[in-house]
Each structure stands twice: as structure tokens, then as C-alpha cells.
Amino acid sequence: MSATKDITRRRVIKSGAVAAAAAGATPYFFTRAFAEGGYTNAPKGDSVTFGFNVPQTGAYADEGADELRAYELAVEHINAGGGGMMDTFSSKELKGGINGKKVKYVTGDTQTKSDAARASAKRMIENDGAIMITGGSSSGVAIAVQGLCQEAGVIFMSGLTHSNDTTGKDKRANGFRHFFNTEMTGAALGPVLKNNYGTDRKVYHLTADYTWGYSQEGSMIKYTKDYNWETVAAVKTPVGAGDFSQFITPILSSGADTLVLNHYGKDMVNSLTQAVQFGLAGKQVNGKDFTIVVPLYSRLMAQGAGENVKGIFGSTNWHWSLQDDASKAFVKAFGEKYGFPPSQAAHTTYCQAILYADACQRAGTFKPSEVGKALEDFEFDGLGNGKVLYRGEDHQCFKDVLVVKGKENPTNKFDVLEVVEVTPREQVQYEASLLGGELGPYNNG
């Protein structure tokens, strides 16, 4: 396992080398760059540089590594003008490179800290001449880097960020998100939960004590209250608490028959493992089977949780077991290169890279305002989520949401989740005004 990972990481990073080495050698003046091209880091010569800003250290390092693998693959496909989901993508503009330029890239480590993420994004913009920044594995980081890209005048294509705020009250003209959010999770999960677990349930929320947690808890309450799912308690848990047992014991005597774990990443694995250990899942309360729900699943993390996820409902942006042509093409390209299926983080970052490249090609320039306009209200298909709309009002993608469940009889170690329902786009789409915020004008630098 570790040996294959090493090899694949090596491959990932290799082709970015040239760009980084070249950029590192020549000092780059931010201000001068603008004067020359009419916008920040206008590409000179026959290449253009992408900046991949992913967590390489810290709790999300494995997701970051998977994102980087997907970017490598995307760059390969863009430069070749085909392969993977490029072949199924509805827009056929890309014919090898973008606007006649080859894509190179530089990498940076966000450490899943806003400060570090901004610093590495700044390095890629100021020092390495990156034309766009993409990646990340948490909303705090996404929002921080999005704000920075707005100021610097480059496009930001966010990676895995699930908070409403990224394209809600913190949205920026230069920022675009392909991933879904807590609002859509709630809208998709609500009806499925009712169909499986019925109405009139008593719900206990354990919520990670930070912005994303609050937002996820809010949307779960909002979309289940019509079915008389009553909140018994909503308890905040410290992020990175490790042992959640002191929060789990009170659930037993609270009279609740449903537990919603508004946790992600390590917290999700830990709290779920411990909740299952406490025997919650097998209990009968109020004459009903006790139920656990994990609103946002990460297959990479769930893979570790193994047995514990069985039968537990949640949502995900994409899953490798989807059987449409695009997903199959992507899994094949990724799997053959790295030996295991891609995660949803890999999928969303791959899409973002392709979508950005395609928009530049259609706009005929890399100028942020033009590229942004090409992305706005762009409707496409063939990237694994069915028909998708990049809404112009808030730069958010709207697509079908997958409701998944931990698989009862997995056939291999990647086969952790099964898709229960594909909630159609219409059902999860909301008015842009619902989440507030102002896009503001594009900034070209």
C-alpha cells in the first residue's frame, strides 16, 4: 500500500517540476507582471502556469495527495487534448493545450491553515507567476484563498469546500465552486431519510464547533422538520476532540432515536467509530431502530472507518461506482495510472481544472473577467454529475446530489459506499439570494 502511494506521488509531481524550477530561478515582480499583460500574470511564451494549493501536511494530507493526483491527470489530458473525462465532456473546444499554450504547474502546501494557504497562494502568484489557483480541503481555507485571489486578480477554482459561505456570503467574483454545499446536502438527504426512517423522530445533533458545523446542523434541521423530526439536543463538540465518548454517553438517556454527526474528516471517523462502539446502532428507542446519519461523507475517510459505516446514510459530491460513461472514463484513467479509484476530492478538482481550461479556450484569453464570463451560466454535461449549471449569480455549480449509504457487503476495500439515490438538480437548487453575499466586480489585477 505505502509503496504504491510513494510511486504515484512521485509521478504526480514530476511534470510540475519544470515550471517550478523555471519560475524559481527568475525573480518575479508582481507589479511589473500586470503592466505587461493587462491582467495579473498574463502568460508569456508558450506555456501557462496553474497553481495547485493543496494540504500536503496536516490532517487532510491524504486528500491533498489525491487532489494533486487528479490535477496531474487533468494537466496531462488538457495538454493532450483528450483522455479521461475530456472525451465525455460536452464542450469540445480544447484541442491540446489552452489558447495554444501548454499547461505547467506549481504546487503549494496549505497545511489546512488559512494563513499558510494564503502565503503559499501568494508565493505561487507573486513568485511563480500562476495564472489561477485551485485546490484545498476545507472551507476556512477556501474562503481565505478566494479572498486573496480576488485581491490579486487571478481566478480561484475551489477544491473540496462544503460550507454555504464559499458561494454564499463570502462569494467573490473571481471565485468558482464545483463542489456542493450544506444546503444541498440537507435538501437531498431530507426526503431520503424520511422514506427510510419515517416521520416523527427525535434527533440528537453532535456538531463540530465551527462555521461549517453550524451551517450543516442548520440545514439538517431545516430539511427534516417538515417530517416532524424534532431536535432533542444539539451539542457542540470541540474540533479535533479525539475521544468523543463524553458527548456520546448522554445520548443514551436523552430519549433520542436518531444521531446526526455534523463532523468531517478525522472528527467524523472518530465520532462514528465511537458511536458505533457504544452500541447505538443496534438499539431500539421509542419503538424505533436507532439511526445514525453522517451528512457529508468522505470515502477516503470512511474507508478507514470500515465496518462502522455500514448502513449509515450520508451525501457525497461524486462516487467512483457511478455507471455513467464519464465517471467510468475517469475511474479508468485514474485507476490505471495510480492503481486505486479516485475520491470525490480528486473528482471535483479534476473537473475544476478542466472547466477552467475550457473556459479560457472559449474566451480566447486568460483574463479573469473574460474567463469568468465564459464560466457564468455555462451548462455542461459529461463530467460525471449529469447536466450541470455553473450559475452566474453566485458562481456555484448545480448538479444532482448523491445520497449514499455505507455498503453492507463490500467486495473490495474501496467499495465502502453505495449510491442509494441520485437527487435531481431541481430538488436541491435554491435562489441565490437565500445565502446572501455580494459577488462584486471581477478583478484583473
Binding site: A59, G242, D243, T249, L252, K266, F278, G279, G304
Partner: protein, 342 residues
């Protein structure tokens, strides 16, 4: 009532773990006079002994399956552990199932060696250096050890299953005459019993063996013991290795409760220091007492009624207790005069 009983039990359970982690730390303080910021890393290494053992048990040969396919639609290569081939389906399966408790043996060996090398190679040269230097060098070591583990095992937590026989929940409500909702995971009860017996073991070792007597004498007055012609420094190596082993087995057994990852050591470092400081530097009894005290307080502070009253209390309770104790009892709960006060 049920809730309070469970919360109390949970506090004891947590406290046992805290005490176990802090025990080695305070032992090293008290005898060697060394502040070891890599103690958390030792705990983490112990946990990865369990991960490692399971990996070893799972070393497999491949057999191409005739019926099943993998994610790319090719015939699945089934992984058959050699273990089952060597020991047969039953014994092999049993060993796989019990890999966590079995990993104690691996942890004792590995951590003993690690402790020995660490003391001889590094700690020994820092006896006479200021505490600040000790903190800094062991902190550096903790970073390096953590990163090496991440390099080979990745950053995601790796859950370890408890043996099937003790993976469910015990219905202790019936035992103590409370309602049916009073259940508690078997493995946590096992861990509690384990931690209590290790704590007693360490105390007995120090109390009833000649070796322990010398060490305790060394804790009281190192120079005099040295004058008696006893090679106290050699004893120190063993004490340090013992501390490493205690941390290691504590970590290995903790894996079914908390899926280990490379940063686990850092997560527990601050906590274990708080326990030791609250208990009193170098006081074994203090560490145990403080461990249970903090565990119980933390458990109760997490209840919703308490949180509604004092928002955020569950996050800071441990630190708050540390501040209050240190300001009212200068040497912690059971600290002795003259230890670490310079």
C-alpha cells in the same frame, strides 16, 4: 440519574487513560529530571505498533478470483493472509481478531528498544542542560518521529477493531440496578481495567523491588544515592525504557477507542503535561489523581446542561483546571517541594 452515572463512568474511563499516559512522563521527571516533550510521540509509536502488527498479520499472497471483479472490472485479486495459511483458518483468524491485545507484546519489545536508544543516544546528554533545552530537543524529536510515521502510514486515521468478543456494549445498567439505557462499550471497560492494573503494576514495581527502591531513593536525593556507589545512571536508562513501554502499551491498547494517526502524539502531549503539572511534577500518585480528576471534570463539562450554562466550557475545562490548581497549589495536587521549581 442514568446520565450522571454514565458520565461518571466515562470520566473514570478517560481518567484511566490520562493517568496511564501521564505516568511515564512524571516518572521521567521525577527520576531523571528531564522534561520529555516526545512522550506523546512514544504513545503514538505504541499505537502504531498495533497498526504494524495488524499489517504484518495481513501480509498476503494473491489469488485471482474466478467470480468477483475489482473496481476497474478486472478479475479481483483476492488477498489471502499467510497467517491463515500457516496457522490454519481458526488460529490465524483468532490472531487477526486479537491483534490489538497481542500487539502489547510487540509494543513492549519495540518501545523498550526505542526507550533504550533514546535515553542512551539523546536524553542522557541532557540531564544537566536547562529544562528549556530538554523541552526543545525532545519537541524537535517529536516532530521528526511524527513526520516519519506520516511518510509511511499516511495522514488519515487508521481504525483498529477490538476483538469481536469485546466489541459490543455491556449492559451494565442491570448490574447496578439502573435502566436499560445504561450501556457501555466492553472495550472501554477492558481499557479501564487494563490501565488500573498497569498503574498498580508500576507502583508495585517501584515499591517492592530493590530496583524500585533505588529509583525512589534516587528521586529523593540523587547525589547521596550516587555516593553509595550505586550506578544510578544505569538505572535511569531502565526507568526511561519503562516509561516508554508504559506509554507504548497505553497507545497500543487505545487504538480501538481512537483511530491512530501521526499527529496523535501532539494531541496528547499538551493534555498529558497538564495532567502531570496538575498532579505535581514527579509525583506518581499526583499524576493518577489528576488524571482521574481531569477525566471526570471533562466528562461533566461536556454535558449539554453545563454547556448551556457556560458556553465553550468543554473546550477549555482542562486548561482552566490547570490554571486554578497551579495558582492555588503551587506544586500541584501532590507535588513535592523542590522538584522543577527552578
Amino acid at each position: 440519574m442514568d446520565a450522571i452515572f454514565l458520565q461518571f463512568l466515562n470520566g473514570l474511563d478517560k481518567g484511566g487513560a490520562y493517568a496511564l499516559i501521564a505516568l511515564g512522563l512524571t516518572l521521567v521527571f521525577g527520576t531523571l529530571g528531564v522534561v520529555n516533550f516526545a512522550h506523546g510521540a512514544l504513545f503514538m509509536l505504541g499505537a502504531f505498533c498495533a497498526v504494524m502488527l495488524r499489517k504484518i498479520f495481513n501480509i498476503s499472497y494473491e489469488r485471482v478470483s474466478e467470480t468477483e471483479v475489482d473496481f476497474l472490472g478486472k478479475p479481483l485479486k483476492e488477498q489471502i493472509p499467510y497467517l491463515k495459511g500457516i496457522f490454519g483458518e481458526d488460529l490465524g483468524g483468532f490472531m487477526l481478531d486479537y491483534s490489538v491485545p497481542l500487539s502489547i507484546f510487540l509494543a513492549v519489545i519495540v518501545m523498550g528498544i526505542v526507550g533504550f536508544i533514546m535515553e542512551r543516544g539523546l536524553i542522557r546528554h541532557f540531564y544537566k542542560r536547562p529544562h528549556a533545552d530538554q523541552i526543545l530537543v525532545t519537541f524537535g524529536l517529536a516532530i521528526v518521529v511524527g513526520e516519519l510515521i506520516r511518510h509511511y502510514f499516511g495522514a488519515n486515521p487508521i481504525p483498529q477493531a477490538a476483538p469481536k468478543a469485546v466489541s459490543g456494549s455491556a449492559n451494565i445498567g442491570y448490574l447496578v440496578g439502573l435502566g436499560p439505557n445504561v450501556i457501555y462499550p466492553w472495550w472501554r471497560l477492558v481499557y479501564f481495567a487494563f490501565s488500573v492494573s498497569i498503574i498498580f503494576g508500576v507502583f508495585a514495581f517501584l515499591k517492592f523491588t530493590t530496583f524500585g527502591m533505588v529509583v525512589r531513593a534516587g528521586m529523593q536525593d540523587r547525589e547521596t544515592v550516587g555516593l553509595l556507589g550505586i550506578n544510578i545512571e544505569q538505572k535511569f536508562t531502565i526507568v526511561f525504557a519503562l516509561a516508554a513501554i508504559v506509554a507504548g502499551v497505553a497507545g497500543a491498547m487505545y487504538t480501538p477507542i481512537l483511530p491512530p494517526d501521526y499527529n496523535m502524539g501532539m494531541d496528547f502531549l499538551v493534555l498529558s503535561f497538564v495532567v502531570v503539572v496538575v498532579g505535581g511534577m514527579g509525583s506518581l500518585e499526583g499524576a493518577v489523581l489528576a488524571g482521574f480528576l481531569l477525566g471526570i471534570l471533562q466528562s461533566f463539562a461536556s454535558m449539554q446542561a453545563v454547556q448551556n450554562l457556560l458556553p465553550g466550557i468543554s473546550q477549555i475545562i482542562v486548561y482552566l483546571v490547570a490554571v486554578v490548581v497551579l495558582l492555588t497549589l503551587p506544586r500541584g495536587l501532590l507535588g513535592r517541594k523542590g522538584v522543577m521549581e527552578d
